[in-house]
Subunit: 426 residues, 2 copies
């Protein structure tokens, strides 16, 4: 089976795809009986096309690829929800299958894209949209389908995991960790998407949609980032027996689905607690399979291109077997998104207080008033003012907010503004 592909976008991942094709086109013929041929490359700049000796296939207009009747599959690697959407839609309308790494499109307009798949009888593969090279979309759509999945936890943003690892292991401040991540090319000049949790939110929306067969969009995800964390929090967490990670959660509950991204304390002996540096991991609990975890590199040219080209080869194999459209939508149910106020878990809450008598007692009274059962509270003056740390028993998010609001209203006591909140996973 000969399958001609058009590559749109030659950044990091696009370059990785050209690399794989240069190295392994012959292996794909031998091992899988598919002849993957590059028939067009679109980008703003011809550098990569030149580097891989395919400048004769180069164009700056993606429509040249969409309108090329020889091309069977378009690989969309522009990213974002701007022109990438046009590329995907026009490719499908032209009867071409699409492979994309675009988490933004899948997490905001996934259902619309699947509807277009069905309309035009084409397939849409998006294995690279979550977890880089880690096979997670595939197992969720295939190997694990006999399970009712009840819970997903993902360390799905390598940039923040690198920063948290440095803050934890080497006591770096948030600012220093961010600077280092930027210097190493892990973080963008504007790091918002990573450090505020939006990248992770898009990814958990995609995973939750697949796992629970319902539409979950990025906007449905309650999202907190890591800007407020200090090395001090990691030290305290460690003493309590926990690691602090930015975790994307999806939980199936009676009322619907919880989807949330926030700093989370994980027990030190949890398999995910030792996932460090830029590595990613996705932990999935199913009713039959029990606990599973998928670990690997969540970003970078090689891993992401591994997922993209894996999809391309798989698609080519299926085309070779004359398989009709099977992408379809994972959405068969219409579950509601449960409000974050309903969450029940344990909490670590650190206020910065003025060093005045009675602040601990006054804050503790606010927790009591809100009906939150406190497991421990301790004050530390290590860092100048008082760090007042509450650790609660299982409590309701709404009650925690009431307690925090009460504390913030105490006259002249809490001086650091909104406290550091880390939810505790058992």
């Amino acid at each position: 089976m000969t399958v001609k592909i058009g590559l749109v976008g030659t950044g990091t991942v696009g370059g990785g795809c050209l690399e794989i094709l240069a190295n392994h086109a012959e292996d794909f013929r031998v091992d899988y009986g598919v002849d993957i041929q590059l028939a067009g490359v679109c980008s703003r700049k011809p550098d990569k096309a030149r580097e891989y000796g395919v400048e004769h296939l180069f164009t700056t207009d993606y429509r040249d690829l969409v309108n090329n009747p020889d091309i069977d599959v378009i690989i969309e690697l522009i990213g974002g929800t701007g022109i990438a959407v046009d590329v995907i839609k026009e490719s499908m309308a032209a009867g071409k299958h699409v492979v994309t790494a675009n988490k933004a499109v899948m997490a905001t307009r996934g259902e619309e894209m699947f509807a277009l798949c069905r309309k035009h009888g084409v397939q849409l593969f998006f294995g690279a949209s979550v977890g880089g090279g880690i096979p997670i979309i595939g197992p969720m759509r295939h190997s694990l389908i006999a399970n009712k999945v009840s819970k997903i936890m993902g360390i799905v943003n390598g940039t923040t995991n690198f920063m948290l690892t440095r803050m934890n292991a080497d006591g770096l401040s948030y600012e220093a960790a961010l600077k280092e991540a930027q210097d190493l090319g892990y973080a963008e000049a504007d790091p918002t998407a990573d450090v505020d949790g939006f990248d992770a939110a898009a990814k958990i929306a995609i995973l939750a949609s697949l796992a629970f067969h319902t539409e979950v969009r990025m906007d449905d995800v309650y999202t907190e980032g890591i800007r407020h964390l200090a090395p001090f929090d990691f030290a305290l967490a460690h003493d309590m027996g926990y690691a602090v990670k930015l975790v994307a959660h999806a939980n199936l509950v009676d009322d619907g689905v919880f989807v949330r991204v926030h700093p989370t304390m994980l027990p030190l002996d949890h398999q995910m607690a030792s996932v460090n540096g830029v590595f990613n991991a996705i932990y999935v609990v199913g009713d039959s399979v029990g606990q599973t975890m998928f670990f690997g590199e969540g970003a970078g040219a090689g891993p992401a291109a591994s997922a993209v080209m894996g999809d391309v080869v798989e698609l080519a194999r299926r085309l070779g077997m004359g398989i009709p459209c099977i992408a379809g939508s994972p959405v068969k149910r219409d579950l509601s998104i449960v409000d974050m106020d309903e969450l029940e878990t344990k909490y670590y809450i650190r206020f910065q207080c003025a060093d005045v008598p009675g602040s601990l007692a006054a804050c503790a009274a606010e927790f009591a008033k809100a009906g939150v059962s406190v497991k421990s509270v301790s004050g530390s003056t290590k860092r100048g003012d008082v760090d007042l740390v509450f650790v609660t028993h299982t409590a309701k998010e709404a009650d925690i907010r009431t307690a925090i609001k009460g504390c913030l209203a105490l006259d002249g006591m809490v001086i650091g503004g909104f406290p550091v909140v880390i939810r505790v996973e058992e």
Copy 2:
């Protein structure tokens, strides 16, 4: 799409499959559009069929299922290479697709089974043959196919991993750990297949065949078990910065393929070092994806049935789409199996010696004679006689054997017989 299945074997895994079907048949209809109907159950005893209210479908003769024209898929869960082979072969000959958890058949007669698939135009799924419920066969056959896989390491036997965890964490002897595993139902009365590494050997043969696209049989796997390990070895390893695990290895090298199962020291910060208890993990390195790891429960009713029924639902979906035989054989290349003598790695070797002067020097001289560069050697009398522990720099297996032979021939020095050998993975 309605797909009728016949279940042969109602032990632990078969019971798990009946459980999943009882709980999730409706979910499969809603989420995947497939109507999986049980049309026959074969076993020696009707207990499970009675338990799940399907005794009207019960038979003790598998031929009743093979000859039932209504049945589309046979699930073979007898195990072993006896009657299970007849069930698989006769099912295929009758035009039925087969889903099996049978590692023994896949690791010894896999190619023969694939040839029958092609001959009869049916499919063969075997996702449960390695790693229980951990999705590993699927990713190897799909998500990771754009990679050249160079290395696999697997903790693929839960029984021995449980025992090693107890020996390491709680200082249990091999005998005590085995007794506990037997009492808990993790180990058989005859534990040979687990503790001598044969179960792991079958599994790595299957993974290596998939990864390297070549035929690797269980007999090709160099196999050592864990009978000779003592808690003392774990303590020493820990001091050196390593955990001791029974690891199944597959490596692609210039000359071919290394496949081996033996106790292995893994650096404590390696993601696999913290895989404890009955959990399994498979670590895969590909040229694009880099390091990945798949973690989960490697055995038990739920996990294994998750893999079996995942295959069944996947197969049903494909049949619903009119997809022809695509199982085929992963074998497209004819790589040679490299002799273990050629292995180059670091070694931990512990001799039990009589407490006589000069034993350390005499043994060290044998290592020197064999051309093995020793990193450290230390003697301990903690356990009575002298434990003489050599740690080598990278050396060739053949030279190590020469050195050991030399030591064993020293008059009256080594009294404990063949030493404990643990290969060290960096």
